[in-house]
Amino acid sequence: MSKVASALGGARFDGFASVREIGPLGMITLRAKPDVPGLAAAVTAVTGTALPAQRRIEVAGDKAAGWMSPDEYLLIVPYTEVKAALATLAEKLAGQHHLAVDVSDARAVFRIEGTQAAEVLMKLAPVDHATLAPGELRRTRVAQVAGAFWADETGYSLVCFRSVAGYVMGLLSHSATKGAELF
């Protein structure tokens, strides 16, 4: 597995919040309408979670299922389990109109942690954190690129496209610089 590299090789910046690239995470884009028979069971079989409702992300340990759009889900599993997960989905959804593709390598993932982690995101995404529900997966933009993030007890996970990982790391580092706290 040494030939597998994340976009930035685990780059890290420590300011008033800490920012680090993690991954690669196993990610599957699953396109299906919510009323497809067997969909919930297929997702549970892969992630151990329920089918997420609008803008929710359901988490079970190191696996998760997120709602991306009315007919798109994001399934997160360990990187080495993606192949098996795709096979499971193909089997459980055989005959149903759906599309499941591996997008693990197409994304870069960042962790933003610390008591003031939210402030880093407040500088880059037009998201009202006061109304961001726990367990919400928010698709938005991060300055000039598309991105999505969700919160947990220790911080935020932020996903963007692999090709702009350098740009996003630059944004996060600039925003997390000591002395630039918002409140």
Binding site: V4, P24, L99, D105, G166, K178
Partner: protein
Amino acid sequence: MSTRLAKGGRLIDRTAPCEFTFNGKRLKGFGGDTLAAALLANDQMLVGRSFKYHRPRGIVASGAEEPNALVNMGQGGRFEPNQRTTTTELFDGLTCTSQNHWPSLEFDVGVVNNYASRFLPAGFYYKTFIHPRFAWKHIFEPVVRQSAGLGQVPKDRDADRYEQAYAFCDILVVGGGIAGLQAALTAAKAGKRVWLVEQTAHWGGRAPVDGVEIDGQPAEAWVKNAVQALESMENVTLRARCMAAGSYDHGYVLCDEKVADHTPGDGRPRHRLWRLRAGQIIAATGAIERPLSFAGNDIPGVMLAAAVRDYLINWAVAPGDRTVIVTNNDDAYRTAIALKEAGLEVPVVLDARASVTGELPAKARAMGIRVEAGKAIAKVKGGKRVTGVAICAQVGQGSVLEEIACDAVAMSGGWSPVVHLWSHCGGKLRWDEAQAQFAPDKARPPLNHDGAALVVTAGAASGALSAADVLLDATDAAGGGMAPVATAPQEAAMEPVWIMPQGAPVDLRMKMWLDYQNDVKVSDVQLAAREGYTSVEHTKRYTTLGMATDQGKLSNINGLAVLADSLSAPVPQVGTTTFRPPYTPVTIGALAGEARGEIFQPLRTTPIHAWHLSQNAYMEPVGLWQRPYCYPRAGETHEQAVHREVKNTRTNVGLLDASTLGKIIVKGPDAGKFLDMLYTNVMSNLPVGKCRYGLMCNEQGFLSDDGVVARIDEDTWLCHTTSGGSDRIHAWMEDWLQCEWWDWQVYTANVTEQYAQIAVVGPNARKVLEKLGGMDVSKETLPFMQWADGTLGGFNARVYRISFSGELSYEIAVPASEGRAFWDALLAAGAEFGMMPYGTEGLHVLRAEKGFIMIGDETDGTVIPQDLNLGWAISKKKADYLGKRGQERPYLANPDRWKLVGLETLDGSVIPDGSYAPAPGFNANGQRNTQGRVTSTYFSPTLGKGIAMGLVKGGLTRLGETIEMTKLDGSTMQVKIVDPVFYDKEGEKQNV
């Protein structure tokens, strides 16, 4: 002279001295000073020269409305021109210089304009420089440009960092005076999420200076308690040094926070631009005092009356030892009283009103201050500083009755509510005759999406000028409730005075200044009216009134009143000019925010990027992607590198990073039907395992994108797009699926970035892959235009046998996270076969040698596939595809359309980019007719000569003909029409 008083100064900290320089002079001030206050404390009243006439200019105001006191601040990477000294906080080590003079502030040769002012009225630019016509470009404009502007242009890169931030609230209160504080308290107590922003560094506004009492205590105390209460509330955010620059639709407001202007270089972002979304905005933005228009009202030492008492009480600075007050209202008497109480001289208050009866004038008289009713200033005496005033009757023509020595004049022409945020998104104004001011028309506020008022005003911004009214209005604006009770002396009515004295002759009117920064006088506006300008918007542009960096804060109302008077029209009929953001200038750095340097744009890089850089590849932008153009070796020019790369690819083997090409998965029972609509050819019958080159058109019929489609399985296709097309074509697909064919069962997924895609190209390509081993890539097993999954050198790979070069070519997709490792493995395996990487320019030359079209070169949005001899790719069997009907229109079906040909110069040289083929005669515009143009042109190292593709009338029916084509120097070259396939016409090399 202006001096610092020994006692007082509610905003200064005498235990925190500061040293600063002005024009190289070392001066002293205190923490809490504005730069203007500190300059005055050092008797530096003269601070600049006006734009046109280079007249001496002094500090006039105490806040953002200041028109004159602008300086060049700082040095090097922190240099910034046009900084307003009245809003600049003093800090130790501050350095600044005055603007718009040479050789010095005191002795400026530009003042010769002043003596020629008779010949340089408003409009002289347009009249003077219009003839002779040729002279504008070469003589007048360079001179005008040289003298334009006030400050100097920064030459160094900005040394500071900036950022932006998003915030949300129910109520945004703008203005931290008593109106804003009361509105914020009211809204916060009602449970709303409140933001309160104040542009200066301190809270309280005017009330503490004006001696207002609230609920029995001095305003200062009330303000302190209010701020503490707000700070303790969870649902309230307070930001000082934060200016609301503009209000936009749906409650969007931009606020410029000056985080570290007063602590430069401390590592904090210098400014932060807040992008706020508010449910409603309460503009508690106060009112700005108006100057009076009398001759010499621009001489340094003439100031706004409220500003004089601001300096006195806030900063313990007396602008003058002897100050004459001139007014048309009671408020200015507060200044007379404050000066007298501080032990300074007030020789007289000149009140333009015939009868003076209010409480404040009475108090002034009781203190022994001389008050003259019905009197005016005929003119001010002095050049670089006021030395005295000549007094006349207001109703007369300016005959001098008396002269009084003084070194400052405090003028008040009334107050104008600050209605900018109300007006930015459509709030209407009404003319208040009694107060001679434009105030918000509460019946016509700017509206939100739900019909509710988007902006409400509070306090003086609504036109309410008494402190009691201010607090009632503010409470009401925030939803109502108990208002604190303010007490202040009753004020008698004001009288509008637009020219002083009323009947002043032209020689006095030529010295009555409306716009101090742009040098616009009463006589200029009257001239505009005489010349036929009746619209206030036209008058503004013709005279430049209100067009300087102060945006007319002191001049707009006085100017339009003079215009109204000249037109014998009522003021409301003339109206105001349009209010536009920003309220005060916002530095460009804040607008750019974090977008500078490395993160200026989201550059997209492939997994191989670091390797390209390590080879000193010359990178080029392809949209936002960075791709290697060529890999020049030591001593090579780019051209030489490209030639080497092309030749090596055709002789040995080349390696190309093709990761940027779009890859879109299309799957579903209706996927085949869907692709048949998107492409001009049939994709639904593409057998599993095979590839087919396809064209996509837009609805107009024009060629939009091209690429190879691969059939992956029964209901799955993979569509390649151009690098620039992946996001665009994916969006195009989703648009049709979501909006038109929403009942078709098709899903798409953009997997462009999931794979690194590497092309191994050339006669030795197969040998390289066989060396890596793992799958059968022979001609029998993997012929041209097929794909196969397998492993190569231990990497899981999908191999496409497709070729954009005409050579034996494999494009190999591996997961992006393995892309770099795979690239390295290919390089290692390819070394013995003469492998070299090649870049985008080599790619372009290789395909041009084969006559393959390039989207963006052979297409420009006006070209259809039939123009490019690609009719073979257009299915005759399909009932419909996107673009079919468009192509049937007469203009696109016309056989006279220019068609694709190869072009070759007779002498082997390269046709320049953009070259046209002229045709005989001229068109209706007097331009030469044309019969063709070049679309791609290169030097071919393979053939040793220039080659090109182009579109020519008649196309290949003219094969063999020689035509003329233009060169850059205007002459023409001889060019032969040839087959666009210059190399390996039969296409044998890619089939091996």
